[in-house]
Assembly symmetry: C2
Amino acid sequence: MTYEQYSSRRLAVSGALAERGCDAVLVTAPVNVRYLTGFTGSNGAVLLTRDSVSLATDGRYDEQAQRETGLTPTITRALLRTLVTDARTSGARSLAIERDHVTLAHFEAIADAAEGELTLTPCAGLVENERMRKDETELGCLRRAAAIADAAFTAVKQTVSPGMTERELADALEEAMRRGGADAPAFATIVAAGVNGAEPHHQPTSYALALGDLVTVDMGARVDGYHSDMTRTFAVGPVDDWQRELYGLVDAAQRAGCAAVVAGAGTAEVDAAARAVIENAGHGEHFVHGVGHGVGLQIHESPMLFGASEVVLADGMVVTVEPGIYVPGRGGIRIEDTLIVSADAPEVITRAARGL
Amino acid sequence: MTYEQYSSRRLAVSGALAERGCDAVLVTAPVNVRYLTGFTGSNGAVLLTRDSVSLATDGRYDEQAQRETGLTPTITRALLRTLVTDARTSGARSLAIERDHVTLAHFEAIADAAEGELTLTPCAGLVENERMRKDETELGCLRRAAAIADAAFTAVKQTVSPGMTERELADALEEAMRRGGADAPAFATIVAAGVNGAEPHHQPTSYALALGDLVTVDMGARVDGYHSDMTRTFAVGPVDDWQRELYGLVDAAQRAGCAAVVAGAGTAEVDAAARAVIENAGHGEHFVHGVGHGVGLQIHESPMLFGASEVVLADGMVVTVEPGIYVPGRGGIRIEDTLIVSADAPEVITRAARGL
């Protein structure tokens, strides 16, 4: 990422201020600060007016912030007070703040510093909306992250045999991703075998894989801040009829969801396309989550793909499609890919082989 | 942890409601939900009245929540609305909410569900204050986590030689912690060599360690949700006079800080004790952060140890003491231990050898 790319992102966000009735925005969510400046520290905030940018952080990050952003940060313990005061002295009248990130405690500090001279306007999606469509640099990171997870899954799956524990399998996958060039796993790898598969977000235990188990692996790699996300379910040894039947159902639902991913489609339509397959087979109650989510600097980000979502898919968005069936006391199946949206068929960037 | 332990924590929090003028509390911070119930999922909320508890989560976590908590969760997409409605129907009049966690968006949802029948009272530290003093189960997890990091550091340090990159060293440390029984690293391991040491939170790069470098390693393990935290700075090969002098200064400051850790002392006094050593030697401007922080279910939690902090240390609190000196363009040194506070000398649970 170049200074110009960050600068252009800042222009996009400040350019959208007028339609919100604001002339400045205070960005405090760390991931949004990173998106707008490149700063990766844990404590930073950014003020954008229509023609300026200010970054504030604390003394731990002075050198790092300069190196990462090309900006000269203000070093302070009172980030919010400092930037709100900057906004006032810049002549701003109405300050946008992040509705989904500012806490009641932060709001009090901001209002205190505003001293009644600034109107505070809580806004949703100020930066998140810009983050939905990825540029080529971001897509490159996402493709690399997905390829690292693909290779790790493919290599480690060949070593799976009865007696291996969920924890050992998760450790092997994470180690393979790191050796493959991941900065870290994208999230705590999920390995759910046998009846544990009935918990969509089961964390790996000392349970030992047994013949006849289905194993669900949900994994991803992080590269330069960008996350990949993929789920595969496979069998250890022989497959029962009920397992084959449910797998076929999830597979068909996932393909139906992927087929609905196209620029111009509503995110709720993608959910509905996958859900209809599962509901029509009488398993609606066992598909207990939305069909997918955006992925980028966060593992879960806009757009969310579920029934009540109103976002329209656009070129360059990156989303997962991951229907599942979870039968309490029996087990579960989920298949997940990550896709780049375009006007044509989406590009599927998670490419590890699927199938029982 | 047993159901009784969680139940007793809930009683402590609900017992403190009266003094806040409230008769119920809505807990939404995931780490606080975990502390009060044992639920580890990413999406949950808890309502405590003076004599009841309700847990809400979404469909992904139905089985898991029951297994982890022994409670029967309400499964819903509208967690806040559901629990606020529960509070109203329970006859509560004044609902405490988490000032440091509730966002403006969440506040709107809560206020909407309250329908004017509940007074909403933003409170700080409702659960965090209870979390400061650890019980024996928690101390056991923290000691195990610290011992795992100690062993990993000790083993991997013997393999360090010029040419090894920061990234390779960090990977080796994290791998050793996992093999030693850590669920995960407590945070992204910091390895900062040579001039990179001037950045307190430097993330490991492809920089290759060279003879004459100081290397700062800040690492920890996570065990059953509890984090350890330790920093060591050591030399690769020969040591210059300026390095030895600054190391001695940080070492003395760190020992002064540790000596000030005793039940009844103010957290600001600990900061002052360590800072005085560095300031008296003329390096005050190079010690750019607070002297330490509490550690437990979060890597940074109450009590914070810095100049403006007003908490008084008490038996069973667990805090770090980690002064550092950072010289731009030259390098840095930090030494950090984690201590259990008592009426006598603190128990130092990070025990890896220190020294250049």
